[in-house]
């Protein structure tokens, strides 16, 4: 049995998504929520395997739910389901630990395919997100003496290579061909990139909190 959290404020879309999820995971147990507050309550009560999270909600941002899941249930796969396709909105969610994103208005078949891919460990990665990730890690290479106690996360050459190609508009299968690697290996790189982004962001956040604490005292 699969426990799935569905956070979506529009009732009709929630119903539609719910039916779609049941199509991919027929034996899934779906917990629905329309607000960030309700979702956080569910997160503290139930252990989820998958979470579909909308970003723009009446009482806040779905990013908080993604972060809470990453904090309390690190095994849960969080997927952002949103109307926003720009990295301004998506990147914070990915930093908080989301494992991929789906654009809501796409045809049912496409969403199902994407959902299946994600659950099989093949998260999507758009050129603009790839560029944003590269820029993020590029800014990390600056020496930070205070962060020596924290894990220093950096991308490998291969991961950077993959990101560069994604940024130029190549699809993951194309990149696999170019680098003579299997589709699964490329997908693993992408997963690794998402994880590193999250770890690095968390370390950064912790450092920030520590700094604030030090100065706040």
């Amino acid at each position: 049995m699969t426990n799935i959290l569905l956070l979506e404020d529009l009732p009709q879309i929630r119903t539609w998504l719910s039916s779609l999820v049941l199509q991919v995971f027929p034996d899934a147990q779906i917990a629905e929520a329309a607000r960030v507050h309700d979702a956080l309550g569910l997160v503290s009560a139930i252990k989820f395997d998958l979470a579909l999270v909308d970003l723009g909600l009446p009482d806040g941002s779905g990013v908080d739910v993604v972060a809470a899941l990453r904090e309390h249930q690190p095994e849960t796969q969080s997927v952002v389901v949103t109307i926003h396709d720009d990295d301004e909105h998506l990147f914070p969610a990915l930093q908080a630990g989301a494992f991929g994103y789906i654009l809501k208005e796409q045809p049912r078949e496409l969403i199902i395919e994407q959902l299946q891919r994600i659950s099989q460990g093949e998260p999507p990665l758009s050129p603009s997100i790839a560029r944003r990730v590269m820029a993020y890690f590029a800014s990390k290479t600056k020496p930070q003496p205070a962060s020596s106690a924290l894990p220093h996360v950096s991308l490998t050459d291969r991961e950077t290579e993959v990101l560069l190609r994604v940024a130029k508009g190549y699809t993951l299968p194309e990149i696999g061909q170019q680098l003579t690697l299997s589709r699964h290996t490329i997908a693993d790189y992408v997963k690794q990139i998402y994880r590193k982004l999250n770890v690095s962001s968390r370390a950064e956040a912790a450092l920030e909190a520590q700094r604030m604490g030090l100065f706040g005292r």
Binding site: P107, P127, G169
Partner: protein, 641 residues
């Protein structure tokens, strides 16, 4: 000779102002050397051809003629009454006899020259009144400073012994403040007028004309400086110096006013009132010039101006000389003390002008000392006469120096004012620039915020509704339309809020979308674009419009062409971006050629290309596929807002 040698050296005086101590001291020396030199040069030859008379019969009586009936003892000339007849006011008759043999043969005009007579005289020759210096009774005409030259008419001179009678009125020393105004008669000279005339002119110049010229200069300059100092609060010393110069000129006014409308006592009192004023101005000038202000001096000096005339009045005419003498000493000491204070301050401040000022004051002090000595011991010499001229001359020099300093300070102030104005202008311009920048930034910020708000509203409201339509509509066509509308909305928002996009990033985005869509449709895609880094950027709007055109083109390929292969190429040429979309499909049917727009969105593609100042060309033939050529000027597309 001395005069001639020096005058070429004195030439540069007019051209350059004394700068620094040494040059000032040099000019001072030249001035001092010039006067006695001139006098000696002119006076020397006169001695030779005239006769100097050094004794005469004298009798003190106020008669109309020489009293032949009274005993007239012989006295030495010069006859100083304070020595020969102390306390007496005269008048005194003097008689002397002379012969002029061969006068008529030589055809010369004889003259009597009296270097000093105080206060006035009448001259009788052989009983005839020949000359009068002015009023002989109070108020007596003042001739103490005026040498007399009396022509002796040849017709009155006999071949034998001639008698010359002089009636002199004067004042005892005790009734005058200065020995210069005490009664007496100098030695007399009789000789050819041509010989005596230059001597007389020289003495008049030295005792009258030159002091008059100097005091006129002082009056004008002093008045000017007084006004200048009065207006300018920071340069009060100028006002005091101006007052000093003017009071000095007033003291010297007696050179012009020989006939005063009041008697000796009043004249002496007035003069006595002027001296403490002179002291006040000098002392205050020196203190202020040393940047010092003494409250004590501010009170004491004006009080002294009242006190001195009061004491003179109280002492009465008989003790005038003694009291005034004491006062003179006191006043001189005050001035000397102020000068010493000034010099000490100047030295402490290491002023550049210490030595010239010290020299100037030493010379003035020496002149003052000489005057005191001559007053005390009653001698008069060339040196004392020069000393009397030196002091006002030094004042003129000092005044010029002060004016020069004032001018320079004024110039410096003007310059610094101009400098300040320039700086203010610069600062104002800077502030205006900053303000403009700030205003622009604020407008930008507000615009940005407003754009974000509109974008958020669109997403939340319109987006949610369109989304609902997409997923709830029974009709696939409506769903597709709503989906397209949603994509359009998203692009519009991006065009509204987006930042410029780097061309390389835009190409990446387009490639990802095009290849993914064609791939999903089962059409083989072939994308080619410049591999190198591209520095150009597109405005958000140009990016959005181009994305729409491409999207439409790819949609056409997927929906209508029936192609199995589609190649897209991007190239930069002559500042244009050229995008070519070529498929191997059916091409556009002939019957649709005239109205390509229908369902193909060709019109909107062309319209959008036109908005970006570019063009969109469609080439097609049945069975040959379709080629769409999109050309956009890069710089315009970049600029387009």
């Amino acid at each position: 000779m001395q005069c001639r040698c020096l005058s070429p050296l004195a030439g540069p005086r007019g051209r350059g102002r004394p700068r620094g101590g040494r040059r000032a001291a040099l000019w001072l020396g030249l001035w001092l050397a010039w006067w006695p030199g001139l006098w000696l040069a002119a006076a020397a030859p006169a001695q030779a051809r005239s006769v100097t008379i050094q004794s005469a019969q004298a009798v003190a009586t106020d008669s109309a003629r020489f009293p032949a009936d009274l005993a007239a003892p012989t006295v030495e000339l010069p006859d100083d009454w304070s020595v020969s007849r102390p306390g007496q006011a005269g008048p005194v008759w003097y008689r002397l006899n002379f012969t002029a043999p061969g006068l008529h043969d030589r055809g010369e005009l004889l003259a009597l020259y009296i270097e000093r007579v105080c206060t006035n005289l009448e001259v009788h020759l052989n009983g005839q009144l020949l000359h009068s210096g002015g009023r002989m009774s109070e108020p007596v005409t003042q001739n103490c400073n005026h040498p007399q030259l009396v022509g002796l008419p040849a017709g009155l001179i006999g071949p034998g012994l001639n008698t010359l009678d002089l009636k002199v009125v004067g004042r005892p020393l005790s009734q005058v403040a200065s020995r210069h105004r005490a009664g007496g008669l100098s030695a007399l000279q009789i000789g050819p007028q041509s010989t005596l005339e230059p001597v007389h002119a020289q003495q008049v110049a030295l005792k009258v004309s030159v002091p008059q010229a100097i005091s006129a200069t002082l009056l004008l300059m002093g008045g000017f400086m007084f006004v200048l100092g009065w207006i300018n609060r920071r340069e009060r010393h100028l006002a005091y110096f101006g007052a000093l110069s003017m009071v000095w000129a007033l003291v010297e006014a007696r050179l012009w006013l020989r006939d005063l409308p009041f008697g000796n006592a009043t004249a002496e009192l007035l003069l006595g009132a002027l001296l403490p004023l002179l002291t006040l101005a000098s002392v205050q000038f020196l203190l202020r010039y040393a940047h010092h202000r003494s409250r004590w001096a501010d009170i004491a000096l004006p009080l002294q101006c009242l006190l001195m005339p009061a004491t003179l009045l109280l002492a009465g005419p008989g003790r005038l000389h003694a009291v005034a003498g004491a006062w003179h000493l006191l006043l001189a000491l005050q001035v000397l003390a102020a000068a010493a204070f000034y010099l000490r301050t100047l030295r402490r401040l290491r002023g550049r002008s210490f030595w010239p000022m010290a020299l100037l004051m030493a010379v003035a002090a020496a002149a003052l000392a000489l005057e005191f000595v001559s007053q005390r011991f009653g001698f008069s010499s060339l040196l004392t006469q020069v000393a009397q001229i030196v002091t006002p001359l030094l004042m003129v020099l000092m005044g010029l120096r002060l004016l020069q300093q004032h001018g320079r300070a004024l110039q410096a102030a003007e310059e610094s004012k101009a400098d300040l104005e320039q700086r203010i202008r610069d600062a104002t311009a800077e502030i205006e620039r900053n303000f403009t920048q700030l205003a622009e930034l604020r407008v930008e910020k507000v615009t940005e915020r407003e754009r974000k708000r509109i974008a958020a509203d669109l997403h939340d409201d319109l987006g949610a509704k369109l989304l609902t339509i997409v997923h709830t509509s029974e009709s696939e066509r409506i769903s597709t339309l709503a989906r397209e509308a949603l994509e359009e909305m998203r692009l519009s928002v991006r065009g509204l809020t987006g930042k410029p996009v780097r061309l390389i990033d835009a190409l990446g985005d387009w490639r990802a979308e095009v290849v993914a869509r064609l791939g999903q449709a089962g059409i083989e895609a072939d994308w080619s674009s410049p591999p190198e880094e591209l520095p150009q950027t597109l405005s958000a709007r140009a990016f959005v419009q181009t994305t729409r055109i491409l999207r439409e083109a790819v949609s056409n390929v997927i929906k209508h062409s029936g192609a199995t292969h589609c190649s897209l190429s991007c190239a930069l040429a002559d500042g244009d971006v050229q995008i070519v979309v070529r498929d191997n499909g059916n091409g556009i049917p002939m019957e649709l050629d005239g109205r390509l727009d229908r369902g193909h969105g060709m019109a909107s593609m062309k319209q959008r290309a036109k908005q970006l100042q570019g063009q969109c060309l469609v080439e097609s033939g049945p069975g040959y596929g379709t080629v769409i050529r999109l050309t956009l000027p890069l710089n315009r597309a970049t600029e387009a807002a």
